[in-house]
């Protein structure tokens, strides 16, 4: 049993860091807490998306012909381009974190800008895909008025398509927001090898957006 030591000023002799919050004992505790919190948030995101994946699997099982035929009207090429764009942005994001770890401010900024550009490219491609669906009347549920004959319940396929990619798109847009925030702080010079947890957490979020797409792409576009 340990004796009663006063842990108050027992901060391993570290100097008081600019971003050290008073209720944490050490910077390491603060970083570890923030990262654990982020992982819990990501865990909650997994369950959040799971509802839509559930809908996908249930209706795929109930209307197999619909799924086989509806996927024909999605562009594998556009989906493929977006996959590559997102994978590349994931790489640059990981490199951004690495730059922050090495206190490389210039590398951090360049990698963040590349990530943001990729996110915009993704959204632009998405825009073209969506407008093609709108033109053909391939819309969810009651809004569906496609002219091509698709057996079963094509309106459900497009409901699943739009809700899944739509929710993912919302996450990409939110990602662009936080990436700009982190870019601003990076330019200000907030991050170095002693404090980079915000970069790391935004990175984790961005990789999750990528992870979701990794599953969406084959499920919606490829498996027919």
């Amino acid at each position: 049993m340990s004796s009663a030591t006063n842990a108050h000023d027992d901060a391993h002799g570290q100097a008081h860091h600019k971003f050290h919050q008073h209720h944490f004992l050490t910077m390491a505790q603060q970083a570890s807490s923030a990262k654990f919190g982020m992982w819990l948030f990501l865990g909650q995101e997994v369950l959040f998306f799971s509802g839509l994946f559930m809908a996908y699997f249930v209706f795929r099982a109930l209307y197999p012909e619909t799924w086989l035929h509806s996927a024909e009207y999605l562009s594998k090429t556009m989906g493929g381009i977006n996959t590559v764009v997102l994978l590349y942005s994931s790489l640059t994001m990981a490199l951004a974190v690495r730059s922050a770890q090495l206190s490389d401010k210039k590398g951090l900024i360049i990698n963040l800008i590349q990530t943001i550009v990729c996110a915009f490219i993704f959204m632009v491609v998405k825009y073209f895909e969506y407008s093609a669906k709108f033109d053909h009347g391939f819309l969810p549920g009651a809004l569906y008025h496609g002219h091509e004959f698709i057996p079963g319940r094509p309106e459900l396929f497009f409901t699943v398509y739009f809700t899944m990619t739509g929710l993912h798109g919302i996450h990409v847009v939110a990602g662009i927001g936080v990436l700009f925030w982190i870019l601003k702080r990076a330019i200000r010079g907030d991050f170095d090898s002693t404090y980079y947890i915000p970069v790391e957490n935004v990175g984790l979020y961005w990789h999750l957006v990528d992870l979701v797409w990794i599953f969406l792409f084959p499920l919606l576009y490829l498996v027919r």
Binding site: S2, H12, T26, A28, Q29, A31, S32, K35, F36, W39, L40, L42, G43, Q44, V46, L47, S50, F53, M54, F57, V58, A61, L62, Y63, P64, L68, G80, T83, V84, L87, S90, L91, A94, L95, V97, R98, Q101, L102, G137, A142, L143, H145, H147, P151, G152, R153, S193, E200, G203, L204, H207, L211, I214, F215, F217, P218, Y221, L222, V223, R224
Partner: protein, 184 residues
């Protein structure tokens, strides 16, 4: 001591650059692979299995290296594992129910064929004041040209032996249901 956080995480754990490029290369390769496989024309369940396998591999690479999970605290790995497990339970049990509804009585596993329940659709159309709903009936009828609006939704499916008031019309609709895919 309760807090391992005091001890670890002194210096950032930095990976060499080639690791990042190597993983990116692997991800690209797997993307090309799954794209190529989609043109082979595998049977549906096999195609789904292969695609999920490739996607899971890609996900593992991203989570393990890009998200640094391999070198992270065990706790964070546990969080991801538990949430994925909860998700799989959700999928597994719900799908098991959806797939086994007709286990004892075949008619319980039968969704109404799309053409049979046109009357249901007519009846359940939301009030015209709702946006979007007003068009629904019209275009629904146009798309499913085969559907007659008169078929009774009360009619039993062909599987159910019970004769019904609307059984005449009901069975008339049954051939058209070939294009539909009501049953499991």
């Amino acid at each position: 001591m309760a807090n391992q956080a005091h001890e670890n995480h002194h210096e950032p754990h930095v990976l060499p650059l080639p690791v990042y490029y190597g993983i990116f290369g692997a991800l690209l390769g797997l993307t090309i692979l799954t794209y190529a496989v989609s043109f082979v024309g595998l049977p549906e369940s096999l195609a789904l299995g292969v695609a999920m396998l490739v996607a899971s591999t890609k996900a593992a690479l991203v989570a393990g290296v890009f998200m640094h999970l391999i070198w992270d605290e065990k706790l964070n790995i546990l969080v991801l594992a538990v949430s994925v497990l909860a998700m799989l339970l959700f999928f597994g049990v719900t799908l098991m129910d959806e797939m086994s509804r007709g286990l004892i009585l075949p008619e319980e596993g039968t969704l109404f064929k799309q053409n049979e329940d046109a009357a249901l659709k007519e009846a359940a159309n939301p009030p015209p004041a709702e946006p979007g709903a007003a068009q629904a009936g019209g275009k629904g009828a146009k798309l499913k040209a085969a559907a007659g609006s008169g078929e009774g939704s009360a009619a039993a499916p062909a599987a159910a032996a019970a004769p019904a008031a609307g059984s005449g019309e009901g069975s008339a609709a049954a051939p058209a249901a070939g294009s539909g895919s009501g049953s499991r």
